[in-house]
Symmetry: C2
Subunit: 374 residues, 2 copies
Amino acid sequence: MNLPSDLFEVSTPALVLELPRLRANAAFMAARAASLGVKMRPHMKTAKSADVARLATEGFGGITVSTLAEARYFLEHGFADVTYAVGLAPCRIREARELVRAGCRLKVLIDSPEVARLIADDDTPLDVLIEIDCGDARGGVTPDSPELLEVAKALQGKGARLAGVLTHAGQSYACGSVEEIADVAEQEKAAAVHAAERLRTGGYPVDTVSVGSTPTATHARDLTGVTEMRPGVYMFGDLDQLGLGSMPGERIAVTVLASVIGVYPDRLIVDAGGLALSKDTSAQRHNPAAGYGLVQNIRGETLPGASVVTANQEHGIIRFASSENLRGFKIGDRVRIVPNHICMTAAAHPGYHVVDGGVEVTARWGRIHGWEQW
Amino acid sequence: MNLPSDLFEVSTPALVLELPRLRANAAFMAARAASLGVKMRPHMKTAKSADVARLATEGFGGITVSTLAEARYFLEHGFADVTYAVGLAPCRIREARELVRAGCRLKVLIDSPEVARLIADDDTPLDVLIEIDCGDARGGVTPDSPELLEVAKALQGKGARLAGVLTHAGQSYACGSVEEIADVAEQEKAAAVHAAERLRTGGYPVDTVSVGSTPTATHARDLTGVTEMRPGVYMFGDLDQLGLGSMPGERIAVTVLASVIGVYPDRLIVDAGGLALSKDTSAQRHNPAAGYGLVQNIRGETLPGASVVTANQEHGIIRFASSENLRGFKIGDRVRIVPNHICMTAAAHPGYHVVDGGVEVTARWGRIHGWEQW
């Protein structure tokens, strides 16, 4: 396909990426990392794009990924320093070692002596981080637990090298204020640093002390003892991050372009539904009127009181607080929808139509999709 | 990739399709159509797979699609009789005509005189259905409205051929009983038949009178005057269809295979999260304990009281009504998750691992994904 000249030519539904906003978000978080004295290892689970990664890693280098398919894609695009930040399933150990043999400086994540032993019992060394539970109650061992040292001990073997500890304060997403998020960032830091100290005291070397979520990276007061942070969604932002206080609305960088396919007295129908937007409704916690997304015109200007109230597979139904504001719309018009949770929304699309302050499309940037490639 | 020999070898997360259940669902709906005296035009928006379509269309021929990408894919796989059942955006008229020139016997859907005129004003004839609103308040003109005849009139031109009317009783998804669904099926039929009669009285030929949703197709009492029905999700089923009374649980044919990546005293973590399952929670209307899916062992046997209570991007957190039932699980074990809404869930995956009554994988069937191919 040729590059569409502008957003009027793009086949809908499609993602639109505003380059100046992405640059502002990348600069903001780079400055945060610098002022906190830690390295950035941006999480590419949101963008899944080498073009975005090049921009987000200017001045750093390493990245974080959420699948080994991402690790492979980014290695092919020149990113060799990769942390896979999801607990390693035993069935993926072989695939992880293949990536190492292909040149990837991969770190994997575990939290059990069983998987530690499976890894250690091999000839090709694999760098391993121990996952710490800092209060999120997802994966990880708690920093005070005997299991922490048991995992480190089980990693002794020529197939494993203990690289450090990693934690993720997912509980930051449940916070009601920026102060609460800063408190959670303290817990995140304290858990990771305490686990690292216990390991060092036990005689184990710990180079990496990794923390991060976009809310805690944005609001942490101090990261003494931490070596790196791994936020991801900050690159694009979304209504959930807006509600959490991670960024102002003017920095939300990715929207879904849609065509109006029906105009009725009380509603518009657009060709972006549950697949193009996702069924994620996380932003409704902050703003009950968020629906499946807020609505902008094609130039990115907010349409007051408009949201996607229903998302069927290929149909989005837009209602306005006042139906007066529906006047003037006609079939074929285009709108942009600001999603609840861009990590989920972006996953349905092959990539981004990049704009640079207007409606002209200056580039198309691809994404990696899914898990195993068939 | 080689075909994995069995479900223990499949890279997770992945879709598992139980062939005997798919056959049973296809036979059930074929028998429904036969007893109601209408043709089947199964909707491929759920399965998006030529292999599934071949099985679901045995004895019929025509299919329904939700995107022009599907229309193109199915044409390439030998399905030329295709109805595109989403209101046609003006920007897609050219693409629709390209499909017709490539041999597709395509019918498109409109509900406005504006789009009718755009279509009629061309040299390549396009078959057009008029969308009728039978109470769903999504797209369509109401059967009694003056707009119905205005659209038909605006289609007079060498670029268009009026093929008939089409409606979809999406309101069937809000029903609380099978009786209510049967009543909605009456409304669906009445709206389509009445619109067809008004058009015929106005001098317009109407060959196709098309209705359908899985709930109404399952429970309609009578379809006199209707020519075809277009259910889709019945092929696979899901927890939402189970709750609506469209099928028994033993006929749900597609689940998500996942690996256990963490075992804790109160929960399991699996490698199927919000992307692999979708964030759709529709089944919670019927069963608040449905979470993001109910849980089976690798052989498809239900694990009592187990559901996915949290779905992060690549993490699913499974809790059991009694933590006693967690005993015996270890990292690397495999489970199958019965999704809320398979149309959303399947969209994240490249295709299906087909099993035929056991855990041996007998085939891999691909799917078409997304909208525009980059």
